[in-house]
């Protein structure tokens, strides 16, 4: 098992290096000249010589491998360059935004986790009864509406009409609810089907008949026999849906005026702010690689066949 885990970790590290190369390529090939920008920021009427001096300072004339090494050490210490648009350092701006996005995705993930387990399990427990039908309905709804539409609908109903929660912003628990539901509904829909269908398939397998022969009731069989068998599939799907939520943050954060990484990324793209875009991409890609690693390890731990390999 350990060897399996360490192999996955090694693969992830390789991917991470490739990801940094990709982001660096973006920096190198960025149009426009950062030196011009910085020179203009320093003094409105900078001369050609000034610009050349800054180019020298920034190492823009160094050979590519040297520039990559410099960029990488910078990135590792949180120095991700300077925004073309604002002239601010990208690193600190990003650092202040990561917790916002993390909170959005973690909250949405919790919503998805709870809803999917409750509805998926209830549906399998009482097939074709009201929890099953309701679960399918919500799943269909969640899967067929884009998140900006869900968000707009929720804002209209709960913030504008009922005035239960703020329409936007990030101020205390009441302002968290709508964004969490908005971002978590689609994953909840997908995952509840994963649970529902997975449990049903497990219940049709011969070991479920053995469980019946033991005298266990249906609830116990679903919990003890069926659930452990869908764990690897569920973890896999949960990982994929977490990815979906990170992408969804790009839409949901601006909708609720949450200043997260998604919102920063969108602004960066709109203003062709390459330094911001590459920094966001670096964060996103690193997160996806980490997520994949966690999913792999989760699957190794929940699948007895994988767990025993190489130990």
């Amino acid at each position: 098992m350990l060897s399996l885990v360490s192999r996955r970790v090694r693969n992830s590290l390789v991917l991470l290096v490739l990801a940094t190369l990709l982001c660096f390529t973006l920096v190198v090939s960025a149009p426009g000249n950062i030196a011009v920008l910085i020179a203009e920021l320093r003094s409105p009427n900078a001369s050609f010589a000034d610009i050349q001096k800054i180019e020298e300072e920034l190492g823009l004339n160094d050979p590519i491998p040297v520039r990559y090494a410099g960029w990488l050490t910078g990135a590792l210490t949180g120095n991700l360059g300077i925004s073309y648009k604002t002239g601010e350092e990208v690193g600190p701006a990003l650092a202040s935004r990561i917790p916002v996005t993390a909170m959005l995705v973690a909250g949405g993930g919790t919503v998805a986790l709870l809803l999917s387990l409750v509805f998926g399990f209830a549906g399998a427990m009482w097939p074709r009864h009201w929890p099953d039908v309701a679960g399918r309905g919500v799943a269909l709804l969640g899967a067929s509406m884009p998140s900006f539409f869900v968000g707009a609908l929720l804002i209209y109903a709960f913030a504008v009409e009922l005035r239960l929660v703020p329409t936007f912003g990030l101020a205390g628990p009441s302002s968290w609810i709508l964004p969490w539901i908005t971002i978590g509904l689609l994953p909840a829909a997908v995952l509840s089907r994963v649970v529902r269908v997975g449990l049903e398939e497990a219940m049709a397998r011969p070991f479920a008949l053995t469980a019946v022969a033991k005298g266990l009731n249906r609830r116990a069989i679903l919990f003890r026999d069926a659930l452990p068998n869908i764990a690897p599939t569920y973890i896999n799907a949960l990982g994929a849906q977490t990815g979906v939520m990170v992408v969804g943050a790009v839409v949901v954060e601006p909708l609720f005026a949450w200043h997260g990484v998604g919102d920063l990324f969108l602004t960066g793209i709109r203003f062709r702010d390459f330094m911001v875009v590459q920094a966001c991409l670096l964060i996103f890609i690193s997160f996806f690689i980490l997520l994949n690693l966690l999913v792999d390890i989760g699957m190794i731990f929940t699948d007895p066949k994988l767990r025993r390999q190489g130990s």
Partner: protein, 335 residues
């Protein structure tokens, strides 16, 4: 032939089976009984209804099949036909233990052997999980598992077929059942392992004084372990009686054919297989006459129309459902 009164008595059991596509009667007026410490073997070709007969009344049918049961099954002074689900559930795994044919798929791949055995003791013997896990260890010793402590921590995929079947047996006897039903427990196993499993079952049955119903294809197994034999054909019992008598002097043409088909030592290598000619009938609505008529060389016209009932033969311990062969006794049978 057994002295004690039977713990399981099946009378005129009929089971109709309905799926999305078909309706059929795989069990048709079946009667038999088993006493504590006794083994009844049920033999019959594939599809003759052995599994449905034993498992459907216990609520052990795969999903998507609905059944209708009529007749009577008295077990331990309780009537099982029409019993409510909850009462039936308490019997399953408690006073009735069950072993399935395929040990490779009958165990849960995602759970340890320890939990899969222990939960039965928790449920039916009201043990705490620590006590139940200690009992799981005892049970693995009872089913003669080597290195039982290590086995408890393992998962099914780490065990061979024979070991998995031992685990299945441990699960079945965990609550010391009064009746053990084993559905072809050795069919899926290697020949060498088959004999070990059969002798294990025999020993456990003695030790726990269980009644046992053993479904099998193997006449060798029947002779070694069972005291009584029921021969099934197309959902009906064709012959029923003490094993030795039925095997040496069958009274029903179908049984005669079955026994004749067993390979013998004096068979020349490559000699023709002496099977019964023809195929068993496709099950559907109840057959009006004798189900065996199409393959029977003793058949007469009335066999097509009148259903022969299980009736005592010249040896009154043996019942056979063939009035033609048993009408005027020995002369016909000898042929």
């Amino acid at each position: 032939m057994s002295t004690s009164s039977p713990i399981l008595t099946v009378r005129d059991l009929c089971i109709d089976l309905f799926t999305a596509r078909s309706a059929l009667r795989p069990v048709d007026q079946v009667s038999y009984s088993v006493a504590a410490g006794e083994t009844l073997a049920i033999v019959g070709e594939s599809g003759s209804g052995k599994t449905v007969l034993n498992f459907a009344p216990l609520g052990l049918m795969p999903l998507g099949v609905s059944i209708h049961v009529s007749g009577s099954i008295r077990f331990d002074d309780k009537e099982l036909v029409g019993m409510n689900d909850e009462a039936l559930r308490k019997l399953r795994g408690g006073s009735i233990g069950v072993i399935f044919q395929d040990p490779m798929s009958a165990l849960n791949p995602a759970r340890t052997i320890r939990r899969q055995i222990a939960e039965v003791a928790e449920l039916h013997l009201s043990l705490t999980s620590t006590q139940a896990e200690a009992r799981a260890l005892d049970l693995l010793k009872m089913v003669r598992m080597s290195d039982p402590e290590a086995r408890l921590r393992q998962y099914p995929h780490e065990l061979s077929g024979g070991l998995r079947q031992r685990v299945m047996i441990a699960i079945a006897i965990a609550a010391e059942p009064k009746l053990l039903i084993a559905d072809e427990p050795t069919t899926a196993l290697d020949v060498t392992v088959q004999a070990q499993i059969i002798s294990l079952l025999k020993d456990l049955q003695k030790r726990l004084n269980m009644a046992m119903v053993l479904i099998t294809h193997d006449m060798g197994v029947v002779a070694g372990i069972a005291s009584r034999l029921a021969v099934m054909y197309a959902g009906r019992v064709m012959e029923y009686g003490p094993v030795q008598t039925v095997l040496t002097a069958p009274r029903h043409p179908y049984t005669m054919g079955l026994i004749d088909a067993i390979p013998r030592a004096e068979d020349l290598p490559g000699s023709a297989f002496r099977g019964l000619p023809g195929m068993p009938p496709v099950l559907g609505p109840p057959i009006p006459g004798c189900a065996f008529v199409e393959r029977c060389r003793h058949a007469v016209a009335t066999c097509e129309t009148t259903r022969p009932l299980l009736a005592p033969t010249a040896d009154r311990h043996v019942l056979a459902a063939c009035p033609i062969v048993n009408r005027s006794s020995e002369a016909l049978h000898a042929g």
